[in-house]
Amino acid sequence: MSTPLLHVNHLEKYYQKTHILHDVNFELNTGEVLTLLGPSGSGKSTLLRCLNGLEAYQQGSITFDGQAVTQKPKQWQQLRQQIGMVFQSYDLFPNRNVLENILLGPLKVQKRTRAAVLPEVQQLLEQVGMADYANAYPRQLSGGQKQRIAIVRALALKPKLMLFDEVTASLDPEMVRDVLNIIRQLADSHAMTMLVVTHEMDFAKQISDQVLFLADGRIREQTPGKQFFEQPQTERAQNFLASMDF
């Protein structure tokens, strides 16, 4: 039995008096893909943000790669180099071109040399079909292209875990597939460990090694693989799947 890469233990999250996450527990092994499903407002994104320190949690504990998370800013700054995150709104830096967006982390945070990083970045850009856009500025790119660059920006730090927060939610339908394919490829050929929040049910069904179904800030179902989609146990999950219409 190897220890899990990520262990979340009795996590509780409040915004002032509002209780957002109730007793969240789960484990994620290296190479696994966990999808977080649930209606909007169920706390999926908040949970994801707790896992890289963008939100603080009030009780419970997280262990990442054998290290207990202390929630100190300094430690988060270290851990974030190993926990990549991609956002719904891409959030590329508009003042920097594609290459500068991607290189900022490896060069300034990890202090690696440009010569060492550049070949890796070129390869990543080729993988996502963006090799010709290294000098473009974010404003010149479409939503799907921006999101692909945002994924490369996170991957350039060589993270052990990737968090995807509804990364296709603001994309035009024809762009969605490209981005999902990239994530699928990451899981299949690179065995990247991932936590994915998504509303794309077909995609979730294909990619998941584990599904967490959240509603009202509680985990309602926790199932391996496709079982969630074929035999949802709770009525809430059944209703949720029925409403997703896929």
Partner: protein, 228 residues
């Protein structure tokens, strides 16, 4: 035309004296702006920290310099510093100090406002790739806030240049003070000299401030265009 008084401008060394006064004005404004910008940017960044006492103190500093009229500040520093604290500074230095502190105070607000108007998502994206606080400021927030600051900063510069006209009150030999001296010395022989002297001073100030004002307008336009 003999009595129009325009001769006052060219009589003796009057014109070069006026230019000398103008130089004092420019020097004080320029040094105050440079020092004020540096201090103001640093303090402006600090005002975005979640530290309440620090924010309160900096807010107090801003409000003090914003509410108290510049004349009062000049007198305060010119008369009270030597008397109460035994610090004897020449008038030029006092003027530069007061203006620098004033520019810094106004700058903190411009910088704070600009930094806070950079979307929260940009900050989070920077944090997510592991940037430290100062790296985030340097590579993400300040470069994006800077274009937002520029028009207001240039406008502040024009206000500083204009407000140097108060410096004669603490006996700084600026262009207004020199002009006043020339007017008084020639009052008997050329009573209309006042018109010409203040006319030339008007032109001097206009020559400095009009380009600044145009520049601010241009920067603002460019910023709006860049957003589309």
């Amino acid at each position: 035309m003999a009595h129009s008084g325009i001769d006052v401008l060219t009589a003796g060394s009057n014109f070069s004296r006026l230019l000398g006064g103008l130089w004092v004005t420019i020097k004080i404004a320029l040094i105050a702006i440079i020092i004020g910008l540096i201090i103001g940017v640093l303090l402006g960044i600090l005002r975005t920290l979640p530290n309440r006492p620090l924010r309160f103190i900096l807010r107090l500093y801003l409000e003090f310099f914003r509410i108290v009229p510049t004349v009062v500040l000049l007198f305060l520093f010119y008369y009270i510093l030597p008397k109460e604290f035994n610090v004897n500074l020449p008038a030029d230095a006092v003027a530069t100090l007061v203006f620098a502190l004033w520019v810094a105070a106004e700058m903190t607000d411009i910088v704070r406002g600009a930094l806070e108007s950079v979307p929260q998502h940009q900050k989070e994206a920077g944090q997510a790739i592991g940037l430290t606080y100062w790296q985030l400021q340097r590579y993400v927030l300040i470069p994006q806030a800077w274009p937002l600051c520029l028009p207001a900063t240039v406008n502040l510069m024009t206000r500083v240049v204009k407000t140097t006209s108060l410096l004669m009150l603490i006996s700084v030999m600026d262009v207004i003070n020199i002009g006043q001296q020339i007017i008084e010395a020639n009052n008997k022989t050329a009573p209309n000299g006042v018109f010409w002297i203040y006319g030339i001073i008007f032109i001097f100030y206009f020559m400095i401030n009009y380009p600044l004002s145009r520049w601010a307008k241009h920067l603002n336009k460019r910023r709006l265009e860049a957003n589309h």
